[in-house]
Amino acid sequence: MAVKFYFEALRDAIYEEMVRDPMVMVMGEDVGHYGGSYKATKDLFKEFGELRVLDTPIAENSFAGMAVGAAMTGLRPIIEGMNMGFLLLAFSQIANNGGMLRYTSGGQFTVPMVVRGPGGVGKQLGAEHSQRLEAYFYGVPGLKIVAPATPTDAKGLLKAAIRDDNTVLFFEHVLLYNLKDEIPDNEDVVIPLGKANKLHEGDDITILTYSRQVHHCLQALKTLKAEGYQPDLIDLRTLKPLDMEMIGESVRKTHRVLIVEEDYKTGGIGGEIVALIDEYFFDELDAPVMRLASKDIPTPYNGKMEAATIPQPADIIQAVKSLVD
């Protein structure tokens, strides 16, 4: 085991996959000489050269399209959005071609591309740098969407994403890059996409969450356990496709569900999860599934307002009590 930061875990994953497969390459703004805005590709260009770690101009739409063309013809590009929000500019390439081209080509072409970078609400970065694209892209057919909460998951899921033959959107969280964790080293950690992770076994409520909110839930868990609550805490990890098996198994056990998400409540992923739980496990529910999500507002700059925008541990504790008691 070795202690690694989240950003190091990402870098290790990219490094190991580039060593394993010469077709794996990275492109994006400042991924080369600068090492990536959060150092996830630090010094990789020194080892692999400027073509495999390609510094691009500020042209998200076209470098995403370039990645599509490269992926169709044998490469496995990893594109970094310096902030995932900027990929709004590449929405058409990611949706039309990353998501749909394999289908429209009748299965002739695959687009094995990973689109990764920082998402989520940071520390007063302002509205444009605090978007939650996982919700905007959620409906696009053909895409897989991942959002790791820990260094170990970051490494294992990124390696799986790089090896996946579909286009995978990989949402890191801007406030998790400096999170530390013990990671098994000199060993090939690959965590399959589509599998959630049970963080705490309990039977009085199911908590479904992902990315940074996992840590808010873990914080809330301490208090809740001290007060005798036993939540079944699940880190979804892969947002699309969802691990309905683990979710169902938990719901059948707890009959109560709380979703904790950092994306906007309206149009967020939580709504989809509620609908799926109703569809498959409605009779198991003792209460409506509750969504604890960000407020439906552009993220304000002011610190207190920003904090009030996203779910906090206290909100989670309160929500759990309101559902269980």
């Binding site: 739409n61 009748g106 072409f109």
Partner: protein, 332 residues
């Protein structure tokens, strides 16, 4: 860097080459005319954009390409696919929505693909294929092959950001890509001069320090001459070229377009430039072929296109229960 093309040498093509150019252009023309018939007969639906009038561009480029070179296009992609040797049967069957189509009936007119022929697709969004073609060129360079990537698009696409972003990157990294602008003077109902502040598109190459050429897109030999230069440059790893071909579409934007805005005199003027009769005159004058021989080729092509229709008619539709197939790479 905006350059003059070398003057034509007396005899540019031999008989075999000349006949190949003729065959490819007539195949394109005949195929598209048949599409119009089939569309009006209700055999194909959606937006169908025909290529009539622009054949010299597709033929002039693609007849010089290798099988492993890449071609990508727009929604006006039937003939680009044919010139890259995608069989008429596979293209017609796709337009009929049949499982034997080149996209297995899932894509349709604007989404033709053929991995086997390195035809990277029709792209239904304007300028969408430009970065993709640039990426294929990047891939060739990355893998150390000498493959060339050719991308066809229209004048309207040159006002879109992706055009400029891509040319810049291709120039920065010396990518083996050829940007072929088919300047047919119109974007649906928008005249080129109303959409572009500088109407000479080849001059935009200056902004990226790459070679830009303007050629008569109604003269297959002129296109071929420029294509040779650009392809050789790309093959040698010297970088991209912007090639503007002045051309015209003989039909409306799509078969749904009333085409009321283009001046009849303008249409008439361009009809006189029809690239096929022009090549015929060249072949006859230079005794590379006789009228009789060309007639034989015409008949052969007519039969081939009719065969494509029969094939499409007789082919089965994709089974509806396979509707989820191909969404993910997992499903074969």
């Amino acid at each position: 860097m905006v350059q003059e093309m070398p003057a034509p040498t007396k005899l540019e093509v031999n008989r075999t080459e000349g006949l190949e150019l003729y065959y490819d252009m007539v195949l394109g023309r005949t195929f598209e005319d048949m599409c119009a018939q089939m569309y009006y007969k209700g055999r194909m639906f959606g937006f169908v954009h025909l290529y009539n009038g622009q054949e010299a561009v597709s033929t002039g480029l693609s007849t010089l390409l290798r099988a492993d070179d890449y071609v990508s296009s727009t929604y006006r992609d039937h003939v680009h696919a044919l010139s890259k040797k995608v069989p008429p049967r596979a293209v017609m069957a796709e337009l009929f929505g049949k499982v034997t189509g080149c996209s297995k009936g899932r894509g349709g007119s604007m989404h033709l693909f053929s991995a086997e022929h390195n035809f990277l697709g029709g792209y239904a969004f304007v300028a969408e294929g430009i970065p993709v073609a640039t990426g294929a060129a990047f891939s060739a360079k990355y893998r150390g092959t000498d493959q060339v990537s050719v991308n066809f698009f229209g004048d309207g696409a040159t006002n879109n950001g992706a055009f400029f972003e891509s040319l810049n990157m291709a120039a920065l990294w010396n990518l083996p890509v050829i940007y072929v602008v088919e300047n047919n003077l119109w974007s649906i109902g928008m005249a080129h001069a109303r959409a572009s502040s500088v109407t000479d598109i080849y001059k935009k190459a200056l902004a990226f320090d790459i070679p830009g050429y303007q050629v008569d897109g109604m003269d297959v030999l002129a296109v071929r001459r420029a294509a040779k230069t650009a392809i050789e440059r790309a093959r040698r790893g010297e970088g991209p070229t912007l090639l503007e071909c002045k051309t015209y579409r003989f039909r409306g934007h799509s078969l749904a377009d009333p085409d009321e805005l283009r001046d009849p005199a303008e249409k008439e003027f361009w009809r006189k430039q029809d690239p096929i009769p022009k090549l015929i005159r060249y072949l006859i004058e230079n005794e590379l072929a006789t009228q009789a021989e060309l007639k034989t080729i015409d008949d052969e092509i007519q039969e081939r296109v009719e065969d494509a229709v029969r094939f499409a008619e007789d082919s089965p539709e994709p089974p509806v229960d396979e509707i989820y197939r191909f969404v993910h790479a997992e499903d074969e």
